[in-house]
C-alpha cells in the first residue's frame, strides 16, 4: 500500500467513526438530551472537522439550549464549508432571530426562498421575519428609552426608519387624524391627569427628557402636545416620528394640535422641509404636509379648558361650534378664526392690537374674558411664544402660555415647562425643566444657532 493509500484509509476510518458518533448524537437529540447531543457532535467534529452537517446539527442543539452565540458560530462555519447547504442558512437565520438580529436573519431567509421558491415553510419564515423587522423598526422608532443611551442609538433611528416605515406611519396617522373634528373634546375623569406640553421645535433630546421626567405616554399617562413640533431644532424628523408613533399607539390618550409651524411656509424657511428632503425625499415632505393639514386646531377639556397653539380671535363672538365647523384640511388663510388659532398672542392691555408678527392679532384680557364667558369656559392654554420660565400666567389666570423647548435655538437660555391638569379640579400645575445636551448636529436647512453664535 502507498503512503497516500494508507492516509486515505485512515481518513475513511475516521469518517465512519465520526458518522457513528453523529448517529449517537442524533439519538440524544431525539430524546431531547441536548447536552449529550452536543458532546457527541463535538467528538464527531474532532474526527471530521470539515463536515457542514455536523456543525449544522450542533448549531440546532445549541439553539435548543439557548446558546445562541455558539449556534450562530456553528451555522456560520457550516456555510463556510458548504455555501449551498440550505439547512445552514436556516440555522443561521434562526440563530440571528434568537439574537434579535432580524435584518441579518431576513437576508438568510431571502436566500433560502430564492434557492427554493416552492418551499412553503421557507416563504412563511421569510414573511414572518419580514413582519418582525418592520414591527421592530416601528417600535424602535417610537420607544424613547433605549435611544436616549447614546448618539449611536439615535443614529440607529435614521437607519431603521426607512422610507417604508415612515410612509406607513404617515398613512396611518392621517387615517386617525381625518376622523377627528377640528375641535377635539375630551373628558378627564376625577382621578385622571393630563400633561400638556407646548412647542418642542425639533429638540428631540429635550423631548426624551420630558418622557424621562414625566414618564412615557400611556393610557394612564395621557399627553397633549400643543403644536410646533418641528422647525428650528436639529431633530425635527425624530420628534415628529416619536409623536406620530405615540399617536398611533394611544390614539385616545395622546393628542396633537396643529401649530403655525405645521405649515408649508414655515417648514420651507425654518428647517423641516430641508431636513425631510435630506433624510428622505420631497415626496415624503409632501406627505407630511398633507398629514399636518389634518391636525386638529383646538382641544376642549371637560368643557372647561380650551387649548390651542396661538390664541383667541380677531373678532368677538366666535363660539366653540364655530371652531368645530372649521374646514381645516388646508394651509391656514391669512386671516380668520383658523389663522387666529395658530397665530395670535395675548397682550396685557385691553382690546386688540395689530400683531407684532404681522399676522393675526394681539388680544387683551377683556377679549379673553368675553370669549370664556360666552363659551362657558374657565381658561385657555396656549403656546407659541418662548418664555424665560417655560410658562406664563396672564389675564388673571385666564390665559396660560406653556413652552416646552428649553434653551430655545441653543441661545435663549429659557426653561421649558409642562402642565399637569387633574380631572378633579382642573387647576394647572406647572413643572419646569432645563435643556439637556444634544449631539452637535446642525439643522438641515440652515446653520444652527450653535454654529451661528450670534454675529461674529
Amino acid at each position: 500500500m502507498t503512503d497516500y493509500g494508507s492516509e486515505k484509509m485512515a481518513e475513511e476510518e475516521r469518517n465512519s467513526s465520526a458518522e457513528k458518533l453523529k448517529e449517537k448524537a442524533n439519538n440524544h437529540f431525539k430524546d431531547k438530551d441536548y447536552e449529550n447531543a452536543i458532546k457527541y457532535y463535538s467528538e464527531a467534529l474532532e474526527l471530521n472537522p470539515s463536515n457542514a452537517i455536523y456543525y449544522s446539527n450542533r448549531s440546532l442543539a445549541y439553539l435548543r439550549t439557548e446558546c445562541y452565540g455558539y449556534a450562530l458560530a456553528d451555522a456560520t462555519r457550516a456555510l463556510e464549508l458548504d455555501k449551498n447547504y440550505i439547512k445552514g442558512y436556516y440555522r443561521r437565520a434562526t440563530s440571528n432571530m434568537a439574537l434579535g438580529k432580524f435584518k441579518a436573519a431576513l437576508k438568510d431567509y431571502e436566500t433560502v426562498v430564492r434557492v427554493r421558491p416552492n418551499d412553503k415553510d421557507a416563504k412563511m419564515k421569510y414573511q414572518e421575519c419580514n413582519k418582525i423587522v418592520k414591527q421592530k423598526a416601528f417600535e424602535r422608532a417610537i420607544a424613547g428609552d433605549e435611544l436616549k443611551r447614546s448618539v449611536v442609538d439615535s443614529l440607529d433611528i435614521e437607519n431603521m426608519s426607512s422610507a417604508m416605515v415612515m410612509v406607513e406611519i404617515l398613512v396611518q396617522v392621517k387615517e386617525v387624524l381625518t376622523k377627528l373634528p377640528s375641535l377635539v373634546e375630551i373628558t378627564l375623569q376625577e382621578t385622571e391627569k393630563l400633561t400638556i406640553c407646548g412647542d418642542t421645535h425639533g429638540q428631540y433630546y429635550d423631548l426624551l427628557n420630558i418622557f424621562e421626567l414625566n414618564s412615557l405616554p400611556s393610557p394612564t399617562n395621557p399627553y397633549l402636545f400643543n403644536g410646533d413640533f418641528v422647525d428650528r431644532g436639529s431633530f425635527s424628523v425624530e420628534v415628529i416620528l416619536t409623536l406620530f408613533g405615540f399617536k398611533l399607539l394611544y390614539p385616545e390618550h395622546f393628542h396633537l394640535l396643529r401649530g403655525n409651524h405645521e405649515t408649508d411656509n414655515m417648514n420651507q424657511m425654518y428647517g423641516f422641509e430641508g431636513e425631510v428632503k435630506a433624510k428622505y425625499s420631497s415626496q415624503m415632505f409632501q406627505l407630511f404636509s398633507e398629514v399636518f393639514q389634518w391636525l386638529p386646531l383646538a382641544q376642549c377639556i371637560n368643557n372647561k379648558v380650551l387649548v390651542m397653539h396661538g390664541g383667541l380671535f380677531s373678532e368677538d363672538g366666535v363660539t366653540l361650534d364655530d371652531i368645530r365647523k372649521i374646514d381645516r384640511n388646508r394651509q391656514p388663510p391669512d386671516s380668520g378664526p383658523m389663522c387666529d388659532l395658530l397665530w395670535s398672542d395675548p397682550q396685557s392691555q385691553n382690546g386688540r392690537s395689530v400683531s407684532k408678527r404681522g399676522v393675526s392679532c394681539q388680544f387683551g384680557p377683556d377679549v379673553t374674558e368675553r370669549f370664556l364667558e360666552q363659551n362657558k369656559l374657565q381658561y385657555i392654554v396656549r403656546s407659541h411664544e418662548v418664555k424665560a420660565e417655560g410658562y406664563e400666567v396672564t389675564h388673571s389666570g385666564k390665559c396660560i402660555t406653556v413652552f416646552s423647548a428649553p434653551n430655545y435655538c441653543d441661545q435663549m437660555g429659557n426653561k421649558g415647562a409642562y402642565i399637569h391638569l387633574r380631572g378633579s379640579d382642573l387647576k394647572p400645575e406647572f413643572h419646569q425643566f432645563t435643556a439637556v445636551p444634544h449631539p452637535n448636529v446642525k439643522p438641515m436647512a440652515y446653520a444652527n444657532s450653535l454654529m451661528q453664535l450670534g454675529m461674529m
Partner: protein, 325 residues
C-alpha cells in the same frame, strides 16, 4: 524623541478668531443674496453656501451693516472725504468697492487683519477683474505694490499685521504713508472683544496719542452678564473661541468707559435694538417683508446683545461729535 506642538494654545485661539471672518462673510453673502442690502462684490470673496441663515441673523447683519455704514458715510461727509479710514480686523470687507462706486472715497482706505486673512483677500483681488479693475482705476501707475501679505495702492492699502503688536502695526501703517495729521476714522466689527482689555486699551491709547483728530466706531457685544450672554460665551468656548475682552462688554457704560479712559474726548453707545429703531424705517419695513420672522424674541435678544459705540477726538474741531443716528 522631541515632539513639536503643531499649533500652540494661542495659535488655536487665533485660528478660531480668524474663522469668525468666514462666519461674517457667509452671513453677509447670504443676506445680500436675499436682498437685504446691495453688495455686488462679496460674491467674489465667498461662495454661496447651500444652507440658509435664519431671518433674525439676516436682520441682525442688516442692522450692523446699515448702522456702521451710516456713521462711516457721515464721517466722510463731515470731512468732505479729506480723511483716512482704517478698518481694523476688516476681513473680507467690500467697503472699498462700495465707496468707489458711490464716488465717496477717503484719501486712503487702510485695512488691517491677520496675515493669513489678508493673503486670502489679496489672492481674490489679484485673480478677479471685477475686484482688481476698480482698484487699478484709482491707482496712478500701472503696477500695484503686491506681496504675500500686503497690497498698497494710492487709495487702498491692505496690511497683514497682529493688532496686539502696536509697534509693528505702526511701522506698517507709516510705511504705507498713513498721515496722522488727517482726520482718521477707525472701524472695528467684533474685533476688540478677541483681545484682552489691556491689549485693546493699548491700541486705543496709541490711536489717541498718534491721531489728534480721529473717530473710532466699534461694533461688538454688550450686556453680556445675563443668561443669553453666558450661553453665547459657552457656545463660543466650545468652538475654542475665547472672548478675551468680554469684561468690557458688560454694559453700554463699560463700552463707553473704555474709550474715555484711553484718551478719547467724547463717546456715545447704543445697543442694536435702539440703532435698528433709528435706521430709516422705510427700508427696515422693506427688509422685514423679505423673510417672515417667526419669533421676534430671538431678534430682540440678538439686538440687545450687540452695540455700536463711537468715540471722538476732535483737535481740528470738525464737529465730529455731531455724528450719530
Amino acid at each position: 524623541m522631541a515632539s513639536r506642538q503643531f499649533l500652540s494654545c494661542s495659535d488655536t485661539a487665533d485660528e478660531a478668531v480668524r474663522a469668525t471672518c468666514d462666519d461674517a462673510s457667509t452671513c453677509k453673502r447670504f443676506a445680500t443674496s436675499k436682498g437685504y442690502w446691495p453688495d455686488h462684490y462679496v460674491q467674489y470673496f465667498v461662495r454661496q453656501i447651500g444652507e440658509r441663515k435664519a431671518p433674525e441673523i439676516n436682520r441682525g447683519y442688516y442692522g450692523r451693516v446699515k448702522g456702521m455704514n451710516l456713521l462711516l458715510d457721515s464721517f466722510l461727509k463731515k470731512t468732505q472725504c479729506n480723511c483716512q479710514v482704517v478698518n481694523l480686523g476688516a476681513g473680507l470687507d467690500t467697503t472699498f468697492w462700495r465707496l468707489k462706486d458711490e464716488n465717496v472715497m477717503p484719501k486712503k482706505l487702510f485695512e488691517v487683519d491677520f496675515p493669513m486673512i489678508v493673503a486670502r483677500k489679496i489672492h481674490h483681488i489679484k485673480t478677479k477683474p471685477p475686484l482688481s479693475k476698480p482698484l487699478i482705476e484709482t491707482h496712478s501707475t500701472d503696477s500695484l505694490l503686491l506681496d504675500g501679505h500686503s497690497l498698497d495702492s494710492d487709495r487702498y492699502c491692505i496690511i497683514g499685521a497682529d493688532l496686539r503688536d502696536i509697534s509693528v502695526l505702526e511701522d506698517k501703517l507709516k510705511k504705507f504713508q498713513i498721515n496722522p495729521e488727517l482726520p482718521t476714522l477707525f472701524l472695528s466689527e467684533c474685533v476688540l472683544v478677541y483681545m484682552s482689555p489691556e491689549q485693546s486699551s493699548r491700541l486705543l491709547h496709541w490711536i489717541t496719542e498718534t491721531f489728534p483728530t480721529a473717530m473710532f466706531i466699534n461694533y461688538e457685544q454688550v450686556n453680556m452678564n445675563d443668561r443669553f450672554g453666558q450661553i453665547m460665551i459657552e457656545n463660543l468656548q466650545r468652538r475654542q473661541c475665547n472672548l478675551a475682552g468680554v469684561d468690557l462688554c458688560q454694559s453700554l457704560d463699560s463700552q463707553r468707559e473704555r474709550f474715555l479712559s484711553s484718551g478719547w474726548e467724547s463717546v456715545k453707545a447704543l445697543d442694536m435694538m435702539t440703532v435698528y429703531s433709528m435706521l430709516p424705517q422705510e427700508d427696515v419695513a422693506r427688509i422685514e417683508r423679505l423673510e417672515f420672522l417667526d419669533e421676534r424674541e430671538l431678534l430682540q435678544q440678538l439686538l440687545q446683545h450687540y452695540c455700536i459705540c463711537w468715540a471722538v477726538k476732535d483737535r481740528l474741531s470738525l464737529d465730529l461729535s455731531q455724528i450719530g443716528f
